[in-house]
C-alpha cells in the first residue's frame, strides 16, 4: 500500500497530497530525498531508500520538467509495489492537464487519483497473474544500469518490484528483490542457471534486457566479494556486508614475505633511531619561516577565454552525411521556432557526445553515465526556448549540474574549525588516508606549512609505521619547518601512536595534529581494519582522503570502498566517513581534470585542498568555475 503520494513544485510548495491515505510519514523522507539525491545529481537513479526509527521507506519520483513539478511516491520497503512507476506516469499526465500556476489547491484531483490508483492496481494484478503462468524471464529489468558494481553508496538500489504479494513464494521472491550493487552480479548469473526460480519471481513489465556477457565478465573481475562459488538462493538472504565479514578471518595477520628460499630472519627489522635531540642533524637546512606565500592564499588568476560556441558540435560529425543534412536542418528549424518538447531521442546524441567529452577528460565512466542520466531526467519534456539548439541547452544544464556537484555542501573553512577547536582547548586532529604513493606525506608537510603561515601551531604524528623511511621523512619535514613531531618508530600499532600523539598535543598546547598513515589498497581487509581502528579510537575532526588527479576509473572504487569499510567496521552507531578530499599531482595533468569530479560525486565530500607541485607552497583551493570550464571545453 502506498504510504503517500506528493506533488510539489521545484520551488518547494506542495500542491497536492493524497488525503485518503492519511498516514503521517515518519521522519522527513521527502526532504532527505531532495537533499541527498535530487540535488546531488542522482536523479537518474530508480529509487531512493530512507530509514527512520520505526519505518523503512522507498521513494520513487518523476519530473515534469516543463512545468517544474515533481511527483513523489512513498511506500514501505518490504512491500514491492509493481504499479508505482505506472501510477506516477499516469498521475503526471493527468495532473499536467489541470495544472495552473495560479491555483494553489487541487482538491478535485482526489477523485481522479483514486480512479487512477484503482486502475493501476488492477493492471498490476493482471500482469502478475499472466506471469505466473510460467514465462521464464531471463533477465532483470534495468540490469544494465545496476550492474555497475562499483556503485554502492547505501542508497542506491534497483527496485525490481518482484511479486511480493504472492504468498507461495516466500524466499523465492526474496531472490528477486534483494539487490545490492554487488549481489546483482551473482544475481544475474543465478538467473541464467536457475530458470525455475524465475518462473514467478521476476517482474519485468516491459522490455527484457538481454544479458550482456561482457558485463558479466567485468562484474566478476571488479571484485564481487567472495561470492564466486556461492549459488544458493538462501545465501543471498545475507546482506553483502555479512558475507564480507564471513570471509576468512585467516587473513588477520600479515606474514612477512619470503622472497627466496633463504630461511627468514629471526629478528624483526627495526631501524628505529634512538631519538637524539640535535646529534647529527646540523647539516639539515632549517627552512626559513618564509618560503613565500602558500598558493592557498594567492588569488587564482585565470584567463577568461572567449566563449567558443561554434566548436561544440562534435556530435554532428558522427552522423552520416545525409542524415546530417536533414538533422541539421530540422534542428535549426526547431531551434528557431522553439516549440519542440525535448524527448529522450533528441537528447540522446547530445548527451552521448557530452559523455564522450567528459570521458576524454578523465572522468570515470560510471560517473559520466550517471551524470548524463541525471541531466536527461531534468531536461526531458522541457520546452526548448527559441533560438537555442538542443546541444546548447544540454550543455547549459550539464554546466549547472557540474557547478552544483562541485560546490561544497558544507563549509570548508579549516581555519575556522581550528579556531573553534582551540576555544574548546582540544587539538584539531586531521588524519590523512589514501592508497599507496598518492602523496600523503608530501602534502601533509604542505598543509603544515600553510597552517604555520596562519599562526597555528602544528604537530605531526608519524603513524606510518610500516614503510621504511616514512618516519625519517616526516622528521626531516618537521625539522625544516620547525614543528614538533611525535613518533614511536616502526612496527608499532598506529592507532596507539596516534592516541598518544593527541595526548601529547593536548599537553603541550598544539592547535592542530596532522596524522600520517601508511598507504593501503582499498581491497586489503586487514589494513582497512587497522585504519578503521585508528579512526574509531581517536575520533579525528577531519578524515582527509588523499587522491591523485592521475587516477582514472579506480577513483570510484577507491573512495566507495574506503567509505564502505569505514562504515562497516565502525564500532559506534555514527560511523566516521571521509570528510574531505585532498587532490594531489594536479600539476601533472593539463586539462584532464575529471578525477576531481569523479571523487566528489561518488563520495559527496568536498575537495578541500589541491596539491599542485612538490614544494611547500604548492597547495591551493579548488576553483570550481575553472574546472567546469575545462571539463566542458
Amino acid at each position: 500500500m502506498l504510504e503517500q503520494l506528493l506533488i510539489f513544485t521545484r520551488g518547494g510548495l506542495i500542491l497536492w497530497t493524497c488525503k485518503e491515505i492519511g498516514n503521517a510519514l515518519k521522519g522527513s523522507p521527502i526532504d532527505t530525498l531532495i537533499r541527498s539525491c535530487l540535488l546531488e545529481e542522482r536523479s537518474g537513479a530508480v529509487s531512493f531508500n530512507y530509514d527512520a526509527p520505526g519505518a523503512a521507506y522507498t521513494l520513487k519520483w518523476t519530473f515534469h520538467n516543463d512545468l517544474g513539478l515533481v511527483f513523489v511516491a512513498v511506500y514501505q520497503r518490504i512491500l514491492h509495489l509493481l504499479y508505482v512507476d505506472d501510477l506516477l506516469s499516469m498521475v503526471k499526465q493527468s495532473f499536467s492537464e489541470i495544472y495552473d500556476p495560479k491555483r494553489m489547491s487541487y482538491d478535485d484531483f482526489d477523485e481522479t487519483f483514486r480512479q487512477l490508483r484503482i486502475e493501476a492496481e488492477a493492471r498490476a494484478e493482471e500482469l502478475r497473474k499472466t506471469k505466473q503462468v510460467g514465462k521464464p524471464v531471463s533477465s532483470v529489468k534495468k540490469q544494465g544500469q545496476v550492474s555497475k558494481a562499483g556503485l554502492e553508496g547505501g542508497n542506491k538500489r534497483v527496485s525490481e518490484g518482484g511479486s511480493k504479494k504472492d504468498d507461495g513464494d516466500g524466499n523465492k521472491a526474496k531472490v528477486s528483490t534483494l539487490t545490492n550493487g554487488h549481489s546483482n552480479g551473482n544475481h544475474q548469473m543465478e538467473d541464467d542457471s536457475q530458470e525455475t526460480d524465475l518462473a514467478n519471481g521476476k517482474e519485468n513489465t516491459s522490455c527484457n534486457v538481454a544479458v550482456d556477457l561482457s558485463k558479466l565478465q567485468k562484474l566478476r573481475s571488479k571484485g564481487v566479494r567472495g561470492r564466486g562459488g556461492v549459488r544458493k538462493t538462501d545465501s543471498i538472504g545475507n546482506k553483502s556486508s555479512k558475507v564480507a565479514a564471513a570471509e576468512p578471518a585467516k587473513k588477520a595477520t600479515k606474514k612477512n614475505r619470503v622472497w627466496d628460499d633463504a630461511a627468514p630472519k629471526q629478528s624483526k627489522l627495526d631501524f628505529t633511531d634512538s631519538v637524539d635531540d640535535n646529534g647529527n642533524n646540523d647539516h639539515v637546512d632549517i627552512v626559513a619561516a618564509d618560503q613565500g606565500e602558500s598558493m592557498m592564499d594567492k588569488e587564482e588568476v585565470f584567463s577568461s577565454d572567449s566563449e567558443s560556441e561554434d566548436d561544440d558540435e562534435p556530435g554532428s560529425d558522427e552522423k552520416p552525411a545525409e542524415a546530417k543534412k536533414k538533422g541539421w536542418f530540422s534542428s535549426v528549424f526547431q531551434s528557431i521556432t522553439g516549440k519542440a518538447n525535448l524527448e529522450k531521442t533528441d537528447l540522446g546524441p547530445a548527451l552521448k557526445a557530452l559523455k564522450e567529452r567528459l570521458m576524454t577528460k578523465n572522468v570515470a565512466e560510471e560517473i559520466a553515465e550517471k551524470l548524463c542520466e541525471s541531466v536527461e531526467a531534468s531536461l526531458e519534456g522541457k520546452k526548448l526556448s527559441s533560438f537555442t539548439r538542443i546541444s546548447s541547452t544540454v550543455q547549459a544544464a550539464m554546466e549547472d549540474a557540474l557547478v552544483r556537484i562541485l560546490t561544497p555542501r558544507r563549509s570548508i573553512d579549516i581555519l575556522r574549525d581550528v579556531h573553534a577547536a582551540k576555544e574548546q582547548r582540544k587539538p584539531y586532529v586531521v588524519v590523512f588516508v589514501g592508497v599507496n604513493g598518492v602523496g600523503k606525506s608530501t602534502n601533509l608537510a604542505k598543509v603544515a606549512y600553510w597552517l604555520q603561515q596562519h599562526k597555528v601551531s602544528v604537530m605531526m604524528a608519524a603513524c606510518d609505521t610500516f614503510r621504511s623511511g616514512a618516519v625519517e621523512q616526516l622528521r626531516t619535514h618537521a625539522r625544516r619547518l620547525q614543528i614538533p613531531i611525535f613518533e614511536k618508530g616502526y612496527e608499532k600499532d598506529p592507532a596507539v601512536v596516534a592516541k598518544e600523539a593527541i595526548q601529547e598535543a593536548t599537553r603541550n598546547g598544539s592547535d592542530v595534529v596532522l596524522v600520517d598513515t601508511a598507504g593501503r589498497m582499498q581491497d586489503n581487509e586487514p589494513l582497512m581494519r587497522a585504519l578503521s581502528k585508528l579512526i574509531n579510537l581517536n575520533q579525528p575532526d577531519l578524515v582527509l582522503f588523499v587522491g591523485e588527479a592521475l587516477v582514472g576509473n579506480d577513483a570510484v572504487d577507491q573512495l566507495s570502498k574506503f567509505n564502505q569499510k569505514l562504515s562497516d567496521l565502525s564500532t559506534s552507531g555514527n560511523p566516521r566517513l571521509i570528510d574531505g578530499i585532498l587532490l594531489t599531482k594536479f600539476d601533472t595533468i593539463d586539462d584532464k581534470v575529471g578525477a576531481a569530479l569523479s571523487m566528489v560525486y561518488i563520495s559527496g565530500s568536498p575537495v578541500m585542498f589541491v596539491g599542485c607541485g612538490q614544494s611547500y607552497t604548492d597547495l591551493k583551493k579548488l576553483n570550481v568555475k575553472a574546472i567546469v570550464k575545462t571539463l566542458l571545453k
Binding site: L13, L39, D297, R410, D413, L415
Partner: protein
Amino acid sequence: MENLEDLKILAEQWSHQGIEYLQKIPPTQLYAAIGVLLFTTILLFLSVRLVRRTKSNTVLLSGLSGSGKTVLFYQLRDGSSHQGTVTSMEPNEGTFVLHSENTKKGKIKPVHLVDVPGHSRLRPKLEEFLPQAAAIVFVVDALEFLPNCRAASEYLYDILTNANVVKKKIPVLLCCNKTDKLTAHTKEFIRKQMEKEIEKLRASRSAVSTADIANDFTIGIEGEVFSFSHCSNKVTVAEASGLTGETVQIEDFIREYIKP
C-alpha cells in the same frame, strides 16, 4: 556704475554680432540644428526620469535551508502557506502587492519578491540576484538556532561582505522566524549571538588578510567588537512567524524601502 554700463554695451555688441552671424546661416540648417538640440534634450530628460523610476523593487528572502523562507514567501503573497512546503530546489519569484495590502485603496507599487533556496549547493543562485536587490531579508530559525548558529552566521557574513551589498548599502533585516513556538529564542538573544559569531569569523577570516579570496570586503571597525551598527548598510532585527501569518514587521521593513 560705469562698469555696469560698459558691460551692458559689451553685451549689446555681442548680441548684435551673434544675431548677424545667425542671420548669415541658411534657415534650413538653423531649423535642423534647433530640432536636433530639442530632440537630444528631450531624450536626456526622459532617460534621466526613467533611470530614476527603475529603482529596483526587488526584495530577497535568504537564509539557511529549513528556516522558513518559502512559507514566508507564500504568506506575504497569498496570506497562507497552503499545504506546506519542502526543501526548495529553485528560487520562487513573484511580483505582487503584499497580501495584507490588497484591501488598501489606491495604486500600490508591487514588490518583486524572490525566495532564494538556502541549500548550500545552491548558494551561487544568491549571487545572481544580489545585484538587483533593494533590500534583503535574512531569515533565521529561532527554534533551532544554536545548532545552526555557525552556519547561519557564515552565510550572513558572506552576504554582508559581498561587493554589491557594501557598495549599494543594501539594508538587511535579520528576521527570526518560528517565534510562535514556546521555545523559540528572542530576537535580542539571536542578535547578540550572531554578533559574537561574526566577530569570530572576522578574526579568522582576516587572518588570511593579504589575499582574502573568499570575501571582498571586511566589516566592522578594527579593534572593536563587532556590532551590527558598524555596518555601512543598515541591519535591523525583527520577529515573525510564517505558520501563523505574523509577518507585520517584515512588511513594514519592505515598505520602508520600497515606497508604495
